[in-house]
């Protein structure tokens, strides 16, 4: 209940359905469609107006800051990304009316309190593999500049730090260092999405890294970089921080 944020009844049902196995219960819970609770359209409208920008028909930076303080969440907290994902927000730091209202509706909330209550649930969604992947891939389009095809390196690194704090990947720091030293260009969508696959399938010692594995060129270079700098030696991930 603490993790999924759901009601006692639903939790009991899920556990029972999966023979009291915790993992199975999570799976069952997430695979069923969320109960569509009734949301009051007018209250949503009011809520939107609370955050809407003075000059444009959108929620901009100020509105978002207010929203964050209302729901007691730091605006750099990853849960804001999850919220944006529910809203299918096109770009970071702004929500259109449709995105805001649509997002809250799909979450089944129409007030600040209800939204606050949904926060644990949203955090838990990051633990689900499938959802994490969706959120991760969503983050690319969301974080990049409008009209650009690729994601600026600094932004990408920031996002990676954030995301891989959730889904722990031991090589994330080396990856970011590598990019700053050797690449210094924007990140393509393919590289972004393939990096997650890489982090998931290839172990940090690179023992199952297949050089013919159709990984993007940048990732191949990263592997070379790791080996060149002795970070991976004889299949061991040595502690780089000790050397420097």
């Amino acid at each position: 209940m603490t993790i999924t944020g759901t009601s006692e009844k639903a939790a009991y049902q899920a556990l029972k359905a999966s023979d009291w196995h915790l993992e199975g219960a999570f799976d069952a819970f997430y695979s069923q469609p969320q109960p569509k609770s009734y949301t009051d359209a007018r209250r949503l409208e009011d809520l939107y107006n609370r955050y809407k920008d003075a000059y444009a028909d959108m929620i901009m930076a100020d509105g978002i800051t207010l929203l964050c303080s209302d729901i007691l969440v730091d605006h750099q907290d990853i849960v804001m990304l999850v919220l944006s994902w529910h809203m299918k927000a096109a770009t970071m730091c702004e929500f259109s009316k449709q995105e805001f209202i649509g997002g809250l509706q799909s979450l089944g909330v129409d007030s600040i309190e209800k939204l606050r209550e949904k926060i644990p649930f949203m955090r838990s969604e990051l633990k689900d593999d499938q959802k994490f992947r969706e959120i991760y891939n969503f983050a690319f389009g969301w974080a990049k500049e409008k009209g650009q095809k690729s994601l600026a390196l600094d932004t990408a690194i920031g996002m990676w730090q954030l995301l891989f704090a959730e889904k722990h990947w031991p090589l994330v720091d080396h990856w970011c260092q590598f990019l700053q030293a050797r690449h210094n260009k924007a990140i393509s969508r393919d590289t972004w999405s393939q990096l997650l696959e890489f982090a998931k399938t290839v172990d940090p010692q690179l023992s199952n890294y297949d050089v013919d594995g159709a990984w993007p060129y940048l990732i191949d270079e990263f592997v070379e970089y790791l080996i060149e700098n002795g970070i991976i030696q004889n299949g061991q991930l040595s502690d780089w921080t000790q050397k420097h």
């Binding site: 095809k149 690729s150 393509s188 969508r189 393919d190 590289t191 393939q194 696959e197 013919d212 594995g213 159709a214 993007p216 060129y217 191949d220």
Partner: protein, 675 residues
Amino acid sequence: MVLHKFGEKLYSGLVGTMTLHLQEMAKTIEAAQGNLFLEELNRKWNDHNKALQMIRDILMYMDRTFIPSNRKTPVHELGLNLWRDNVIHSSKIQTRLLDTLLELIQKERTGEIINRGLMRNIIKMLMDLGSSVYQEDFEKHFLEVSADFYRAESQDFIECCDCGDYLKKAERRLNEEIERVSLYLDSKSETKITNVVEKEMIASHMLRLVHMDNSGLVNMLIDDKYEDLGRMYNLFRRVPNGLPTIRDVMTSHLRETGKQLVTDAEKLKDPVEFVQCLLNEKDKYDKIINLAFSNDKTFQNALNSSFEYFINLNPRSPEFISLFVDEKLRKGLKGVSEEDVETILDKVMMLFRYLQEKDVFEKYYKQHLAKRLLSGKTVSDDAERSLIVKLKTECGYQFTSKLEGMFTDMKTSQDTMQGFYAAYAAELGDSPTLVVQVLTTGSWPTQPSITCNLPAEMSALCEKFRSYYLGTHTGRRLSWQTNMGTADLKAIFGKGQKHELNVSTYQMCVLMLFNSADRLSYKEIEQATEIPSSDLRRCLQSLACVKGKNVLRKEPMSKDIGEEDAFFVNDKFTSKFYKVKIGTVVAQKESEPEKQETRQRVEEDRKPQIEAAIVRIMKSRRVLDHNNIIAEVTKQLQSRFLANPGEIKKRIESLIERDFLERDSSDRRLYRYLA
């Protein structure tokens, strides 16, 4: 007797009598001394045969009736069997017979003469007695003993002979055995005994022979010992793995020498020499394979793969081959017959085929051809065209279309000039003669388009041409390539010396300035002509600092051109020749930075080609996995260059970025074509 049903009695009587008789014979034979043993055996055998014949005739009736119906051995055969059992297999005779035969063969092998006729008869006797008798009583042992003999002999030889001699001896022994078989052994023994010789003399010592110091295969190759090589080929051909052994050693030697050749710093200084060495090496081995290895295709292939290997070790090979061709087409082929020209060009094509980076060759060839055409320095138009045709046959139309375009431009320009002079004949009577070559931009190597200030006489003329040309070809743009032209100037020097100077356009601009000034500083010249400074320096150097061509005088007399230098006409200029050639637009080996630049351009050109190949393949296959794309693309581009898998990968990613391709959602190694 048979008729009276006494067949059985007759038969057994025959058996008994004959047996006894034969046993007697055997004793006589056994008694024979030394050399007479065989003769005695032979004589008795002949007697027996005669007797057998008579007996058979006499007992013919029994032979035909009683024997078949009672399943008895026929008379003749019976006679043979009894002979075999009682004489040949008699304990005292059997071993002695074998030993005698083997002894005689041994004698013959060591050079003695033996009675071959007698041998033949005895062996024939054994054969008549049945092939199992021949094999068991003779052949088997013969082969064993021979093996021992040759094993020992080959061991001796290999210690004291060099490779060539050893092979001669082996060949001789082989021929001896073949002769022996034909003279007095069963022909079926031939393969068996030759196998023995081959195994003991050749197969066992193959590697030692090939690698023998100072006389082994490598030495034979270096010294063109065709006879020895041919002998080795013929002998080794007979043993399993013989030819592969020769081939492998030849290949590694060839690769080694080739590698040294292409990395030899001395040779690399002169590209023409470099290529000539390659051609010589190829000729050498072609001859060896032809004369000694009977044109064996597998050896040809080994030769080709070795050449391909080391030619591509040197990244400048394409450039050098083009320079070689350039030298030949500019002067080397002067006075050479048409046939010989074709031969040389064909040889060059052979080297060309070995190149992996044919697109690099194309780039250089274009540059060099351009220079040849524009300076009018080609020895034979036919030779040029012939080579283009060969390249087209080898690489397809695409490769040569631009080159052909260059030739077309030259021809068209001639026509244009005729038209120009026809149209302006009257006006142009006094003006300098202008020859313009109009080059289509796409076909010729790209040049930065820099203009300079032409002398007044020239610029007026050029403008006339421009308006004439654009009058007939609207919508085109002309830009003068002043860095590529030449000029012939008639000059009169201080003491009245008259010369005709052949110079580059830049040099002409500089020289013409001195028609209206005696002294000019570097800066003044630069301002007046607007020639880019590095070109101007080179130009002034060639006019003032080269002995025999110093039509200008420079103060100070240093070799370098300084900003403050002053120039004068060299009134004291002399030359043996009336016509003095100063301008050179000759193709040369590129300097290091130029080389880098060309290499860069080639790499850039390859990117769209790789992308085009990827798109072509994906369009037809729709879905394809990573490794297969790399393989297919490499194969498609093979005829132009060796595609780098890393580069192919980058292109694939670029195409994904631009939404030409996407990764499959379930299998990340699959790519899908997006229409």
